[in-house]
Symmetry: C2
Subunit: 78 residues, 2 copies
Amino acid sequence: MAHLEPKEVLARNLRRIRTSTGLSQEGLAARSGLHRTYISSVERGQRNVSVENIFAIARALGCDPQALIDARSAEGDG
Amino acid sequence: MAHLEPKEVLARNLRRIRTSTGLSQEGLAARSGLHRTYISSVERGQRNVSVENIFAIARALGCDPQALIDARSAEGDG
């Protein structure tokens, strides 16, 4: 299994968890106080997201922050 | 239990895990490629650390990145 970059681990977990909640990128943006284009770039693995924003995203999704940086969960995603 | 700020969650977990490994801040800095003063400021809760540096610190400590942002583990620490 290829070793995923940290930004890609976060990207895959975020996309999977967000879609499982039924939230759109717009809906997550509104809940988290982050911009929709920022959420979109995180999901494309383009952002070196800070711990404060990891917690803000997790809070908005109703998940543990740890779930967003779990490499094993991310590896299963395409 | 008071709700801890994300930076404080990371600070407490890092300090606890680092000391449990027997590594000094200097030793962790050398292993992780980060500066000792940066490690010190993270442990004082002064840094909004990025996901790439969370992974770099975890790799150097031999722990999962998730362990560094686990709020429940941090709450037990002083």
